[in-house]
């Protein structure tokens, strides 16, 4: 991509976000009885206290992991939507270890996260395997697999981890040694943020600076060319799905070990889906994932804060997210301007 093209893509994404924000303000204006207050909280609420800003960073962590996971899988042009299930299932795996095993502090969460990652790998690897072996659409099978993850996960919690003395369907408490430490006082921001930052660097280097990443990217751009050049496409596709699954599974593990005392999810947490938006905003480039994750986390926390003190429900964030996806995916949005730019450059 030339510099002007890259600038244009940034401008285009920025414009999409601006349009989405303007629309959200219009919705607030239409729906709320106290629109001024609601807008102020939505836009600046996350900045009004350290605790609120801490909420944004906490929210960023799972989005970083699922966004990275999806960008790795999508880089190979495999539309594996299993990040949601891998995140959930990985978290259950980590909960198992956190509850049942006795390990020294630093080792305990490491083992739990690794184990969660491995479970995520297997989970996202299966649709990849079905694809290369029998050509079944990874999109359909991974989507269905999320249900398997959900119900099988609930079964495991219910029969093997459930604390019968607790009022709800939750697991036994995690061992203290398994929990991740908090890194910013007066917030719940935990060590997972640092792991996430390392994961961003690792993924960026892996995709753009190693031979394995090279294969994944070539396959994503033109799989016929990859085959012709002698790349073992099956192996590289599987690798991308397994790695993506690992990141998602580890992300789920980190989320429960960092924020919770027990495993409490009764529903799929939805970070896998939001991760798709993160990956789309970042154009599958790991370097841009933090920006996209921060933006979405900020918006969600803003909406949360707003909904607590005004009459605006925070679900309206879903409308904004939908609009962002549609505008970014719509290739004809700003296509005329892009063509004008190309013409201008070419005629120089």
């Amino acid at each position: 991509m030339t510099k002007s093209q890259r600038l244009f893509e940034i401008y285009r994404t920025g414009l999409v976000i601006l349009i989405a924000l303007l629309l959200s303000l219009v919705i607030i204006l239409l729906v709320s009885d106290v629109p001024g207050e609601a807008m102020k909280l939505f836009l600046t609420g996350p900045l009004d206290s350290l605790r609120h800003f801490g909420n944004v960073l906490e929210m960023m962590v799972p989005l970083l992991f699922t966004g990275l996971a999806i960008s790795v899988m999508f880089s190979a042009s495999q539309f594996n939507l299993g990040a949601e299930g891998a995140f959930f299932f990985g978290a259950i795996g980590a909960a198992f270890i956190a509850v049942n095993w006795n390990l020294p502090p630093v080792i305990h969460p490491m083992v739990a996260i690794l184990w969660g990652g491995i479970i995520g790998s297997v989970f996202c690897g299966i649709p990849g395997f079905l694809k290369i072996k029998w050509g079944s659409s990874e999109l359909v099978s991974s989507l269905m697999f999320n249900y398997i993850a959900y119900f099988f996960g609930l079964y495991l919690i219910n029969y093997f981890l459930r604390d019968v003395n607790a009022g709800a369907m939750v697991s036994y408490p995690f061992a203290e040694s398994a929990k991740l430490i908090r890194i910013i006082p007066k917030t719940r921001v935990h060590f997972g943020l640092i792991i996430a930052a390392l994961a961003v660097v690792f993924t960026a280097v892996f995709l753009h600076r190693t031979r394995w990443g090279y294969r994944i990217i070539v396959i994503g751009r033109n799989i016929r060319f990859a085959k012709y050049a002698g790349i073992n496409t099956d192996r590289a596709i599987l690798l991308s799905q397994v790695l993506g699954g690992f990141i998602a599974g580890a992300g789920g593990s980190i989320e429960v070990l960092g924020l919770y005392r027990r495993f409490t999810w009764q529903l799929l947490p939805g970070y896998g889906w939001t991760g798709i938006i993160v990956a789309i905003l970042a154009r599958n480039n790991p370097i841009y994932i933090p920006v996209a994750a921060f933006f979405l986390a900020y918006m969600r926390i803003g909406a949360d804060i707003m909904s607590r003190s005004t009459d605006m429900p925070n679900e309206f964030v879903a409308i904004i997210q939908g609009l962002i996806i549609i505008l970014i995916a719509a290739s004809s949005f700003l296509a005329k301007q892009r063509h004008k730019m190309v013409v201008k450059e070419a005629m120089l």
């Binding site: 600076r209 190693t210 031979r211 033109n222």
Partner: protein, 520 residues
């Protein structure tokens, strides 16, 4: 030079820029007079096809206007073009293979009986048109069973049936044998006598000389001038076309063939229609020689190349490269034997157009120890070899980091060739190596192939371009219907006409003669 009253169609100051930033037309003026055959020549990528697509409503210019009989018109889409009496026969035929000739001909303007197609009427219309213009076709034959030349006639009839008075033919002879070309020219002259105007796109100058009244020459998106064909020589045209004198003759000494590198034995390939696409053929290519495969496209060449490179499977027979059987080898395994492959379609197999030149150049050797430092790729080493290749192969680009998509056809092909030729190949399979690229790049690639031959590579050249295959090859085989119909040991000893007969399957050598292509 022509009376303004005769001018039927005029394009003024046409400028077109493609989304990848390539300027296809730059302020082009173009005009034709009624009742002439007007040649439009230029190298590949000079903007001929784009200009005609604008005229046919398939492309829309950034600037410029079109005047039909003095009135300015806007051509939004092909339907509008047809309404103005402009018809186009494309390089790639736009026909439905499973339908009959008559059904294809009337498609979109069907005669009806109630709500259904009136087939007898369609057949009658087809027969009538066919007789009127002396373009012989069988109205009831299915299009998929027709030879290429006949399909082209159907396309021409289709345009005429829609009321075209101005007919655009985009490189119509590219797919034809010499015999079919002669027939087409007679038919076109007849059409002209009937009062039709024809725009004939080509880059074969002898055809322009023998068919056209006037010629417009294009180079690099600009009009280089309009001439009466009788006033200019082929050399004049070619100089304006390329911008310098060209010698398309490749200078090469006699081949000095050594040991056999590629050996094909009783090879049969069954295609997905369960037909024998390649039918029990044997041949061999030796180190230091270029063996050409001539033939009309679709006679088994593609399947053969796919089998040789590992992209496709084969049912029976053996293929050996440097003495190793490749049946069980992966594509990578075959490449590791020293095989290079220039694919016929550079955009599908030859490159990842969204990636940079660098990333394309290293595709086969991306995991070579020279380009990796432990776990990471050595970006400096990659940059170095890319810079070298870009320079050595004279790839015109802003930098090796530029996306391949933004290069011209000839430069994209140079990227492919640079990658494939730089790996010290023992066997080069060159499938249409110069298709659709400019003369400069063509010359460059052909010279390289000869150099590689002299340096000891075995070259298998597959080309639908008769000139190329005759000039470049040391020996030739001709394929027709999946079989080898002739082996010509000395490629320079045969005439185009004779080759045409073998290509059409009208003549065939005996098994003994063909068998000589298997050495040792």
């Amino acid at each position: 030079m022509s009376d303004a009253a005769d001018v039927i169609l005029k394009m003024e100051n046409i400028t077109k820029v493609y989304p990848n930033g390539i300027i296809a037309n730059k302020g082009v003026d173009f005009s034709i007079t009624a009742g002439e055959i007007h040649g439009l020549v230029g190298e590949n990528g000079a903007g001929k096809t784009t200009l005609m697509q604008i005229l046919f409503g398939l492309n829309h210019p950034e600037k410029g206007r079109i005047l039909l009989e003095g009135k300015e018109i806007t051509i939004g889409n092909p339907n509008a073009a047809i309404a103005f009496g402009i018809g186009m026969v494309h390089q790639h035929f736009m026909l439905v293979p499973s339908l009959s000739v008559a059904e294809n001909l009337v498609m979109g303007v069907e005669p009806r009986k109630g709500v259904v197609l009136n087939l007898p009427e369609a057949v009658r219309i087809t027969r009538e048109l066919s007789e009127k213009y002396n373009l012989k076709v069988d109205p009831q034959a299915a299009v998929r069973d027709l030879p290429v030349g006949t399909k082209q006639k159907v396309e021409i009839l289709k345009a005429l049936h829609r009321g075209a008075r101005i007919l655009i033919l985009d490189e119509p002879t590219a797919v034809l044998t010499p015999q079919e070309t002669d027939e087409l020219f007679d038919e076109l002259k007849l059409l002209k006598d009937e009062g039709n105007t024809i725009i004939f796109i080509s880059h074969k100058l002898n055809e322009i000389k023998s068919l056209c009244d006037r010629v417009t020459i294009m180079r690099a998106g600009k009009n280089q001038g309009v001439f009466n064909v009788s006033d200019v020589s082929e050399q004049d045209i070619s100089r304006l076309m390329v911008g310098r004198d060209v010698i398309l003759q490749v200078e090469k000494g006699p081949a000095e063939p050594k040991e056999t590198i590629l050996k094909v034995n009783d090879l049969t390939i069954v295609n997905r229609f369960r037909k024998n696409a390649v039918d029990d053929i044997s041949f061999s290519v030796r180190k230091g020689e270029i063996l050409g495969i001539a033939g009309v496209e679709g006679n088994g060449q593609r399947e053969l190349v796919e089998a040789l490179t590992g992209l496709g499977k084969y049912a029976e027979g053996d293929i050996g490269i440097t003495g190793k059987d490749i049946k069980k080898l992966s594509i990578r395994g075959i490449r590791d034997l020293g095989t290079s492959h220039i694919p016929e379609d550079r955009m599908t197999y030859g490159c990842a157009a969204d990636l940079s030149i660098e990333m394309n150049l290293i595709a086969y050797k991306h995991d070579h120890p020279d380009l990796n430092k432990n776990l990471l790729m050595d970006m400096n080493a990659i940059k170095d070899i890319s810079d070298d290749l870009v320079e050595e192969y004279r790839i015109l680009c802003s930098s090796p980091q530029q996306e391949v998509r933004r290069l011209s056809g000839g430069n994209i092909q140079k990227v492919v060739v640079a990658r494939e030729f730089s790996s010290d190949p023992k066997l080069i399979i060159a499938d249409q190596p110069t298709r659709g690229i400019d003369v400069g790049a063509t010359e460059f690639i052909r010279k390289r192939l000869v150099t590689l031959r002299d340096d000891g590579s075995a070259v298998l050249l597959v080309s639908a371009d008769l000139n190329e295959v005759m000039e470049l090859s040391d020996s030739l085989i001709v394929m027709y219907g999946g079989k080898i119909t002739a082996y010509i040991e000395n490629a320079s000893s045969i005439t185009e006409e004779k080759l045409g007969l073998y290509m059409l399957g009208l003549e065939s050598q005996g098994d003994d003669e063909i068998g000589r292509v298997c050495h040792d």
